[in-house]
C-alpha cells in the first residue's frame, strides 16, 4: 500500500485495518502525532488528510491510501503559528499541541472567537483553559 505523508511516498505493509495513528507512529516513526484516548474524543492524534483535520486513531490506513497526509513533522518549525504558540503559552505540557496546531492551521487570525472555538471543539487541552491558544492563533 502506498502512503503519501508530508510530501514523501512510503510503502506500507501493515494490515489494511491498522489505525493510521499506529502506522505513522510505529512504522514511519513520526511520533509527533500523539494518542490521548483512542476513541476520537481528545484530538491529540489529529492529522490533516487532504487538508482536513481527522483523528488518526479512527482511520484504518487503507482508507487513506493515496491521499495527502500532513503530520506535525510536515509543518515548518518557523511557521508563525508555532512561534505564536510558544510566545503566548499555547503549549504547556505539549501533548495536545501537535494536534491542536494542525486543527488550527487554517484558522485566520481575524476569525471570531466563536469560530475559533467551534473549529477547535474536537481538541481537548487540559492545561491552558484554551485562552492562550486563542491568543496564539490571533497573533500568528
Amino acid at each position: 500500500m502506498q502512503l503519501r505523508v508530508n510530501g514523501a511516498d512510503y510503502d506500507v505493509t501493515s494490515h489494511p485495518m491498522t489505525r493510521l495513528l499506529d502506522v505513522l507512529r510505529e512504522d514511519l516513526r513520526l511520533t509527533g502525532t500523539k494518542e490521548g484516548c483512542g476513541e476520537g474524543e481528545c484530538g491529540a492524534c489529529t492529522v490533516l488528510v487532504e487538508g482536513e483535520p481527522v483523528c488518526s486513531c479512527l482511520v484504518p490506513v487503507a482508507q487513506v491510501e493515496g491521499a495527502a497526509i500532513t503530520t506535525i513533522e510536515g509543518i515548518d518549525e518557523d511557521h508563525p503559528l508555532l512561534r505564536a504558540f510558544v510566545d503566548h503559552g499555547g503549549a504547556q505540557c505539549g501533548i495536545c499541541t501537535p494536534g491542536m496546531i494542525l486543527a488550527a492551521l487554517d484558522i485566520e487570525p481575524d476569525a471570531s472567537l466563536d469560530e475559533i472555538r467551534v473549529r477547535l471543539a474536537g481538541n481537548i487541552c487540559r492545561c491552558t483553559g484554551y485562552e492562550a491558544i486563542y491568543r496564539a492563533i490571533r497573533d500568528a
Binding site: 505540557c93 487540559r126 492545561c127
Partner: protein
C-alpha cells in the same frame, strides 16, 4: 509598583499585573554588578521546551523505543473485595515469548512504599479493590499479549463501597482552638450546612506510562512522572537494590495534575519486575480506559458546617466535620485530609474552632493526589456556606467576607500568623469592582443569568514541618557557556524549567540564554523533592536563588564561563532552609501550617437554560495574588488552566462508580471542558512579595482550582437554585429545582 494594563485580545479577557502596595518588603537579590542588565524576572521568556513541543520533537515515554523492547500488561481484579483461590494462565507454557510475574517474583518486599506501607505491588491473596493488580504479563507481540487468557478464581466477599458507612478508619485528626461549645451557645445565629464533592479524574491527555530497562545489574525507568525520587524509593524497597543500581529518568510528561505523583511508583514497579525477569526493556502504557479505571482520583468529601455568628456578621464559632473517601489503601490520604482540614475555615478569622476529620477505607481504587489536594473540597464547602450565613443574617455576602477576612497579623484556625503579604481584602475588592459584581447581582436577579463569588487562599509548599523533613537539595554548576541548573523537580507543562532559569539568570546577572537546565535524571540531579504542592517555584526556586548568590561570591566578579575555562566546573549545592520562626505541631495541629498563602477571588457569571437545566459559564474573573510573577505568561497559564479544570469540577466532571469501579471510564462519557464549555477569562495577577520566596514568589499551581466550583455554585444560587453538591450537572440541578417546587 508596576501596573501595566494590557488590552483585551480575545472576547474581553484581559491580563493586568499590579502590586498591592509596598507593605511586604521583598527580599530581592540585587545583582552584584554595575549597570545591571534588563530584568529577567517578571518578563515573559518563551518556555525552554516550547519549540520541541510545538514541532512534535519532544519525546514522551511512548515515543521511546529500546532494542529488544517488549510490552507489559497488568491483569487486574474484577471484583471489589475477595480472596484469590487460584490464577491460571496457559500463556507461558504455550509460548516461550511470554514473561509472567506474580507476587512471588518480588525480590524484597511486596509493597509500594509511601506513607504507610500497606499497599501491595501485586495481590497475594486478599483483593481490596476493583482493578487491583494481580498478575503481570509481557510479550513482544501486543496482540498475543492481550489475547492471552488468564483465569482467576476468586472467592468474593461483601465490599464497603460507601465511605459514609465504612467503619475502617485510615486517618483521624482534630483541630481545636478556643471554646466552640460556649461560643456556639452565645452566638446570635447558628448556620448549618452539609456539602458533598465527588471524585474527579485528573485526565492528563497523556496516560500513565513507563519503560523499564534492565541494565547495570539493576533497572532504569523512563517515565511520565512528577516525582523521580518517589519512584526510586519504591523500587529500592520492592527490589532490595541499592541506589547505584537504580535510575529514574523523566520523559517529557503530558500533564500530571497530581495523577503522576504517586501512581508511577506502582507502574514503574510492575515494569521493573517484568524487565528483570525477562531481561528485556519493557514498555507499559495504559490506554485511556485502564488509566481511568485503575489510577487515582480526587478524594470525595462530605463536609458539615455548624457556624456561630453575631448579628454584625462576626464568625464566632466554627464547628466542622470532614469525612473523606480514601479508597482501599492509605496512599496519600492522610495528607489530603490534613490539607483539606487546614483550609476548611476559608480565609477568615475565628477564635473558636473545632475541626474533626476522618478518612475512611472503602473497597475502591485508592484516591490520590490531584491539584489542590483536599483544599478544593473544603473551600467549596466554606464558600458555599458563607452565602447561607449571609442570607441567614440578611447581609450582603461581600460585606460578610470583608468583615471576617484574614488580614496581616491575624491568626489562622491553627493559630498561625498571616504575614505582611496576606491579601484577602485586596483580591476581594479588586474582583468585586472589576466584575461590576453588585450591579450585575441586582440587575440579573430573576433572569437566566447569575453571578457568584468565592474568596479563597492556598498554603504553598508541604504542610507544617514537611519541607524541613524533605530537606530538598538543588544545585547550579558553571559550564563552558554559563551555568546549568541541577534539580530533581520536573517540567510537566507548568514552566518550571523556564521559571527556575529566570531566577538563576537574574540573580547571577547573566542573560537568560546562558542558563541551561539539566534533565531530571536521578543519576545526575540532587533530590529536590517531589513536583507537587505548589512548591517547585517557591521552595526549589528559592534554593536555586541561594545557590546563585553563593556562586556569585565564589566567582568574585568573574564570568562563569571564563571561570569554567580556568578552573573546570564549579558546583554549588544548597539544602532547603526553613524560614526562622516557622513552627507547626503536627500532632496537635497548632502553629504555622504554611510559610505563606496565595490569595484569590473568583467571580463566575453563568447562564441557565431553564428547559434543559444546563448551566454554562459565560465570563470569569480571577484575581490572584501570588507574591511575584516570575514569568507572567506561565502564571497566566496556570490561572486560566486551573480555572478551566475547576469549572469542569463544578459543572461537568462526574465519576460514576458502579460495583466499586469507574463505570464511565472513557472520554466519551467523562466530560471535561472543551473550547465550547469554557468562558472568557479576565485575569488579574496581584503581587505582594513573600519574604522567603524567590524574588517574592509564592506557590501558584494549585490556587486556581480552589475557587471556580464555589463561585459557580454561588452563581447558581443567585439563579434561585440551591445546590450543596458537585458537580452541578443538569440532572442534579433539575432534582434541586423539582424538589424545591
Amino acid at each position: 509598583m508596576n501596573e501595566q494594563g494590557r488590552p483585551a485580545r480575545v472576547g474581553g479577557g484581559a491580563l493586568v499585573t499590579r502590586g498591592v502596595d509596598e507593605a511586604g518588603v521583598p527580599d530581592y537579590h540585587a545583582p552584584m554588578i554595575e549597570n545591571p542588565p534588563p530584568p529577567i524576572v517578571g518578563t515573559a521568556h518563551p518556555r525552554l521546551d516550547g519549540y520541541e513541543k510545538t514541532s512534535g520533537r519532544a519525546k514522551y515515554v511512548d515515543d521511546l523505543t529500546f532494542p529488544g523492547m517488549i510490552y507489559g500488561r497488568t491483569v487486574r481484579s474484577t471484583v471489589a473485595r475477595g480472596r484469590i483461590r487460584s490464577i491460571q494462565t496457559s500463556a507461558a507454557a504455550a509460548d516461550s515469548g511470554f514473561t509472567v510475574v506474580d507476587y512471588r517474583d518480588i525480590p524484597a518486599v511486596n509493597v509500594i512504599s509511601l506513607i504507610e506501607d500497606d499497599q501491595p505491588c501485586l495481590v497475594e491473596r486478599e483483593i481490596r479493590h476493583m482493578a487491583e493488580p494481580v498478575l503481570l504479563l509481557a510479550h513482544a507481540d501486543r496482540e498475543k499479549l492481550y489475547g492471552a487468557e488468564v483465569v482467576t478464581d476468586v472467592e468474593e466477599s461483601p465490599a464497603i463501597l460507601n465511605y459514609e458507612v465504612s467503619d475502617v478508619e485510615l486517618k483521624r485528626l482534630t483541630i481545636s482552638r478556643g471554646d466552640v461549645d460556649a461560643a456556639l451557645a452565645a452566638a446570635d445565629v447558628i448556620v448549618e450546612g452539609e456539602y458533598r464533592t465527588g471524585h474527579q479524574e485528573q485526565l492528563y491527555i497523556e496516560p500513565n506510562g513507563v519503560i523499564a530497562v534492565p541494565e547495570n545489574g539493576g533497572v532504569t525507568i523512563y517515565g511520565s512522572l512528577q516525582c523521580p525520587f518517589y519512584v526510586m524509593r519504591a523500587l529500592r524497597v520492592l527490589l532490595g537494590l541499592p541506589d547505584d543500581k537504580l535510575r529514574v529518568v523523566q520523559a517529557a510528561t503530558g500533564g500530571g495534575f497530581g495523577g503522576k505523583e504517586e501512581y508511577p511508583s506502582m507502574l514503574a514497579s510492575h515494569a521493573a519486575l517484568l524487565a528483570l525477569k525477562s531481561g528485556r526493556p519493557v514498555k507499559m502504557i495504559y490506554d485511556r480506559g485502564e488509566d481511568m479505571l485503575a489510577t487515582t482520583k480526587r478524594h470525595p468529601f462530605r463536609v458539615r458546617h455548624r457556624t456561630g455568628v453575631s448579628r454584625d456578621g462576626t464568625i464566632v464559632a466554627l464547628d466542622v466535620d470532614i469525612l473523606v473517601d480514601g479508597g482501599a489503601y492509605t496512599t496519600l490520604t492522610p495528607v489530603v485530609l490534613s490539607r483539606g482540614a487546614l483550609h476548611c475555615g476559608g480565609p477568615y478569622r475565628c477564635d473558636n474552632v473545632r475541626v474533626q476529620g476522618r478518612a475512611m477505607m472503602t473497597n475502591t481504587p485508592p484516591n490520590g493526589a490531584f491539584r489542590g489536594f483536599g483544599a478544593p473540597q473544603t473551600l467549596f464547602a466554606i464558600e458555599a456556606h458563607m452565602e447561607r450565613i449571609a442570607d441567614a443574617l440578611g447581609m450582603d455576602s461581600v460585606a460578610l467576607r470583608e468583615h471576617n477576612a484574614l488580614r496581616p497579623g491575624d491568626t489562622t484556625i491553627t493559630g498561625g500568623t498571616i504575614g505582611p503579604d496576606g491579601s484577602a481584602l485586596e483580591v476581594l475588592r479588586e474582583a468585586v469592582t472589576r466584575s461590576d459584581y453588585h450591579a450585575k447581582r441586582a440587575q440579573w436577579r430573576g433572569t437566566n443569568r447569575g453571578i457568584g463569588l468565592a474568596l479563597f487562599f492556598h498554603g504553598a509548599g508541604f504542610t507544617g514541618d514537611g519541607e524541613r523533613k524533605l530537606a530538598s537539595r538543588a544545585a547550579i554548576e558553571t559550564t563552558a557557556t554559563g551555568v546549568r541548573i541541577l534539580a530533581g523537580t520536573v517540567e510537566i507543562g507548568q514552566g518550571s524549567h523556564t521559571t527556575h532559569a529566570q531566577i538563576v539568570a537574574e540573580t547571577l546577572g547573566l542573560p537568560f540564554d546562558r542558563i541551561a537546565v539539566e534533565h531530571p535524571d536521578t543519576d545526575n540531579v540532587p533530590n529536590s523533592g517531589p513536583t507537587v504542592a505548589s512548591r517547585t517555584c517557591m521552595v526549589v526556586g528559592r534554593i536555586l536563588q541561594r545557590c546563585s548568590t553563593d556562586l556569585l561570591e565564589r566567582l568574585s566578579g568573574m564570568d562563569p564561563a571564563d571561570h569554567f575555562k580556568q578552573h573546570g566546573p564549579t558546583r554549588v549545592e544548597q539544602e532547603y532552609e526553613a524560614p526562622l520562626g516557622l513552627h507547626f505541631d503536627e500532632v496537635n495541629y497548632v502553629g504555622d501550617a504554611y510559610g505563606t498563602y496565595a490569595w484569590a477571588c473568583d467571580i463566575a457569571e453563568v447562564e441557565i437554560d431553564r428547559d434543559t437545566f444546563e448551566v454554562r459559564p459565560v465570563h470569569f474573573t480571577a484575581v490572584q495574588e501570588i507574591g511575584r510573577a516570575i514569568n507572567p505568561v506561565m502564571v497566566r497559564g496556570q490561572i486560566e488552566g486551573g480555572t478551566a479544570q475547576g469549572l469542569g469540577y463544578a459543572l461537568l466532571e462526574d465519576v460514576i462508580m458502579r460495583d466499586g469501579g469507574m463505570a464511565n471510564n472513557s472520554m466519551t462519557n467523562y466530560i471535561v471542558p472543551t473550547t465550547l464549555d469554557t468562558p472568557t477569562m479576565d485575569v488579574v495577577i496581584m503581587e505582594r512579595p513573600y519574604r522567603h520566596g524567590p524574588m517574592g514568589a509564592k506557590g501558584l499551581g494549585e490556587l486556581p482550582i480552589d475557587g471556580p466550583a464555589p463561585a459557580v455554585i454561588n452563581a447558581i444560587r443567585h439563579l434561585g437554585i440551591e445546590l450543596n453538591e458537585l458537580p452541578a450537572t443538569p440532572e442534579r440541578i433539575m432534582e434541586a429545582v423539582c424538589s424545591s417546587e
